[in-house]
Symmetry: none
Subunit: 240 residues, 2 copies
């Protein structure tokens, strides 16, 4: 469970308690307000779990070792990059992979950048008149839904597959953006939105770790070859 | 939703907010601590709903007009008067009746007396190590479960027929094989097996038609750039 930029210590504590209630142990906080995190740690609820919570500087760092990332939304995004799916449907179809579920900040939810790391976007079926849930409550509902089908609460199967991790995929993105800009498919002026689009696309692919190594190798070789052959004067190369 | 002897104003507010989130409107408080109720009313979350909340002196009064009452428990009752059932099972079998769902106080849960009004006892599947949920969160989980099967999400913008065709994918394979050989990732000696591997990989990817166009464009641009800039000396080609 990844909380992205949480602000309220009560919510951090409530989220930790919900994880504990449903047998989850791995909580990551991305850029929490320092004071909020300190206050949450001193609170009783979920205290044990908060002691082992990890801090991350970015969403990329938080989910680097995961193979599958789910975003959550109140359904108020204007133009979601991914189709909104009912939380129950997302939970039912989860692959046996190391997965993360992201929750945005209380005020703004997940950003477009945060969502670009997600394979699926889960919506809790709130009503249009009051779509936005309290953070601690939405964590509780999602944790509940994730264990709901496994009533015996046996530990979920740990990943045995060799799917590429988010970090593997992010390296591919980083390798290809300069190549795509070099050949004019991407424009430097639109780098961040096009990087997000590339990330979103590559996250959808069913890449094995070996596939990821191949793609990364391609990206790096292309970078090398393009630089070697053409120098580095992108958009205006002269023959070597 | 009936809260029996709630003590914490934050929990009362959180419960009210959860009701609003899932479209419930009828909240009854049995013997709330007066101060807690006053504080909760002054809070923002769920404020509208708290204004219409009813106060009752006893559980009997709170559920008098109901036809069916469900109790909730963390499963820590020593000798429950009713069998504990999974929340999901209780929600699934609800009769078409005016129903109430009871939540006990934060400290003690529902009393034996409270439970005597209940037809069924629902247990949220928390783990034995941390069975007791926060009141606001357990109300959220129960409200979620009650609407879960009836969620009327707006149709998802998923298009089932814009997936890339096999032909789209094969064009990508054809465009990339020469590029991969050029940069040394593929060896011409193993062209047919490596082409199969690339095809297998790309067939697994969940590509839309637009994704396929982008990838094909990339392949073609790379071919063009590599040929233009480097001549065609690779593997026996001579400069154009």
């Amino acid at each position: 469970v990844v909380l992205v930029r949480p602000r309220n210590p009560l919510n951090i504590g409530a989220a930790a308690r919900a994880l504990a209630n449903f047998g989850f142990t791995d909580l990551v906080l991305v850029e929490p307000y320092t004071k909020a995190f300190a206050e949450a740690k001193s609170a009783r609820a979920g205290a044990a779990l908060l002691k082992t919570a990890r801090l991350a500087k970015t969403v990329a760092e938080a989910v680097a070792d995961c193979q599958y990332v789910i975003g959550t939304t109140a359904g108020t995004l204007r133009e979601p990059e991914l189709p909104l799916e009912a939380l129950a449907d997302v939970a039912r179809d989860l692959p046996p992979a190391r997965a993360a579920i992201l929750f945005g900040s209380e005020k703004t939810g997940l950003s477009v950048e945060d969502i670009s790391y997600c394979r699926r976007l889960a919506r809790i079926p709130t009503v249009p008149e009051a779509p936005s849930m309290n953070l601690g409550q939405s964590v509780a509902v999602c944790c509940y839904e994730l264990v709901r089908g496994h009533a015996d609460l046996t530990p979920l199967p740990v990943s045995t597959n060799d799917a590429a991790t988010i970090a593997d995929r992010e390296r591919i993105v980083s390798a290809f953006v300069p190549v795509l800009e070099h050949v004019g498919v991407f424009l430097p002026a639109h780098r961040s939105s096009q990087t997000r689009r590339l990330r979103t696309m590559i996250l959808r692919w069913q890449l094995s770790a070996a596939d990821a190594r191949l793609l990364l190798g391609v990206g790096r070789e292309l970078t090398r070859v393009l630089n070697l052959r053409t120098g580095k004067q992108t958009h205006g190369n002269s023959p070597a």
